[in-house]
Amino acid sequence: MNQCPNCDVWTKDGHCPLCREDLSQDKGAAWYPYYDPELHKKRTNISRLAILLGILAVFICLAINIIVIPQFLWVFYVAIGVFYVVVSLTHTILSASHIGGKITAQVVSLTIVLLVIDFLSGDMQWSVNYAVPFLIVAGILVISIIILTVRLKWTGYLSFLLIMIALGFLPLVFFLSGLADVLWPSIIAAVFAVTVFTLLLLFANRSFMTQLGRRFHL
């Protein structure tokens, strides 16, 4: 063992671990694996880069929009498009989130995109009347199919299915608040949500109730 004259400590290494002073030619024992600096280099954070580029693109478009045709603010279409691309890239594609979470995030972000585009293009109510209800039905259906396929691991999807079932009542809220004026798609979405919930109660009664108890414990 070598003693470091600066730090008054002993070491089996060839240099002092505290002040890096060379003590001998002997490399000593390997206490830890070798960390390859290349392997641990900070990877460019694509998600952060995408958000920054998105914001930059929106600001550039805003400037062009104001300079060229200030009477028609098309920049909002760009902004909502950028929002959807960023969510899809950072969450759906790049993140390690649960697939149920990715589906839920897609449904929520697409709902926002559809609502904004509809509002910007003259508020024709096609989004609240038809597009959003069927999008939510599609979301519930996709998660239900996955649950049927994964079988034993179904509990991992339950939280997301419950969120989607709750979202199933959103179109009805739109109708009751006067935002939508066509009832039947909203009814379909709510009935579909209730049906899936009832089927879960019927076919997975005990484990479903157990899972509900766990997820809602106070």
Partner: protein, 425 residues
């Protein structure tokens, strides 16, 4: 098996505050006298995992609180490749919040703090090492100091002992914000990582030395640490202030419990440093505070306050999406700002005589956080005491000053080694 557990009262905090710069993952290791055989370690882990059901879980999302569920996947031992206490990637780890690593002669267990504290982790490690030696054909006994892998888990090992010992639902809240402590600043490693420096000392001799100075081992080491921080940083920066060392206190001694879940309190030992404080003065102050902070009534009040806060309806009924950010703010504003460093002493770990010839010593690594970029931990085994500093910043001045002081003051040999993270460029 479809078992589930609520996250215990302390575990909820770690669950809320963990992030890229605060992994909330700590490590306990044993250094064996022979190179580790991975196959035997895996066989041992397969047996031991069943004995510790609260550690072999996955976390599920809940609306008001997340919870833990039994994990059916196999928990695999892995060769150590990264730095200690890196965040646990649940996808790479079969959704477990615990990992078992091996490197040369070292067996390490890294655990997300939501699952257990140092006491629970050490019990797991002891049983794992015992079973590993059994798999290797060694004649070892549990001798009543190791949880036998053959036994069924005791329900009391799974209890949240905070709930058991809470004596009042209407505990008084601590008034006001905690005093801001001196905080260590430095240059974060690039790439980010954790540098660990271990110092090995004769535990028996150091304990005797501490007693001769009228304090305990923890009191002495805390005092030397406070002095090192003052000498290296505050004197240089010409700042006065309180150096506050957060000492996790296992509650199992004062409140008998065999729980393998979190059951500890934290005592902040704060010493106002003004340039006129000598080591003897620091020792006196630290020892006095250690005695008062570990008084049973003080600890009881802490348990009551903790349980009463989390039992409030408003806290329970808030969805985690709202609750976790609030808990993060509370952690940073009340917990982190009132301490300079955390220093955890797991004490002298008892092992059977039959195990001692196979094990050299142990190491404990406590993850650093953004506001507390250097943390320290101590573990003693076979009479060998290992002090480990884990830092996420380049500056090693405090650690160097601490070990130099320790060697100079006690006259004991201090053997130092490190993982060299950030040293090799």
């Amino acid at each position: 098996m479809d078992q589930w557990y609520r996250i215990d009262n302390t575990g909820k905090i770690f669950h809320a505050v963990s992030s890229a710069t605060n992994s909330s993952v700590f490590r306990v290791s044993m250094i064996m006298n022979d190179t580790v055989e991975p196959e035997c370690l895996q066989e041992a882990l397969d047996i031991v995992a069943v004995r510790f059901p609260t550690l072999t879980v996955r976390v599920r999302k809940g609306l008001f609180w997340d919870f833990m569920e039994h994990n059916d996947e196999q928990l695999l031992v892995k060769p150590e490749t990264g730095h200690p206490c890196s965040p646990i990637d649940r996808k790479e780890n079969n959704a477990y919040l615990i990992r078992v690593l091996y490197f040369e002669k070292r067996i390490s267990v890294e655990i997300f703090h939501s699952l257990t504290d140092g006491g629970g982790a050490v019990e797991f490690l002891k049983t794992l090492v015992y079973q590993y030696l059994v798999q290797r054909g060694e004649a070892v006994e549990t001798d009543g100091v190791i949880l036998d892998p053959e036994d069924a888990p005791d329900p009391e090992e799974m209890e949240d002992s905070f709930e058991r010992y809470a004596s009042s639902d209407t505990a008084l809240r601590q008034v006001g914000r905690a005093e801001k402590a001196y905080q260590i600043k430095g240059t974060a490693f690039e790439p980010p990582g954790i540098h660990v420096t271990h110092g090995v000392v004769d535990g028996t001799a150091l304990n005797a030395f501490a007693k001769s100075r009228g304090t305990s081992l923890t009191g002495f080491l805390t005092s030397v640490l406070i002095q090192a921080i003052h000498e290296e940083r505050m004197r240089r920066d010409m700042t006065d202030g309180t150096v506050s060392i957060a000492l996790p206190i296992s509650l199992r001694r004062q409140f008998p419990s065999v729980t393998l879940r979190n059951f500890f309190s934290v005592a902040n030992i704060g010493v106002p440093m003004d340039g006129y404080m000598h080591l003897e003065d620091i020792i006196k102050e630290v020892t006095g505070q250690l005695i008062s902070h570990t008084d049973k009534n003080v600890l009881q009040a802490g348990i009551d306050r903790f349980v009463s806060l989390q039992g409030k309806w408003i806290v329970r009924a808030l969805p985690v999406l709202v609750k976790y950010p609030i808990m993060r703010i509370g952690f940073n504003q009340y917990g982190e700002r009132s301490k300079t460093m955390t220093f955890s002493n797991l004490g002298n770990i008892p092992v059977p005589d039959s195990l001692k010839p196979h094990v050299d010593r142990m190491e404990v690594v406590l993850y650093p956080t953004r506001k507390s970029p250097i943390n320290a931990a101590v573990g003693t085994l076979n009479g060998r005491l290992t002090i480990t500093f884990a830092r996420s910043i380049e500056e090693a001045d405090i650690i160097r000053a601490f070990f130099k002081s320790l060697a100079d003051i006690t006259g004991l040999d201090v053997e130092v080694y490190s993982n060299e993270w950030g040293d090799m460029r």
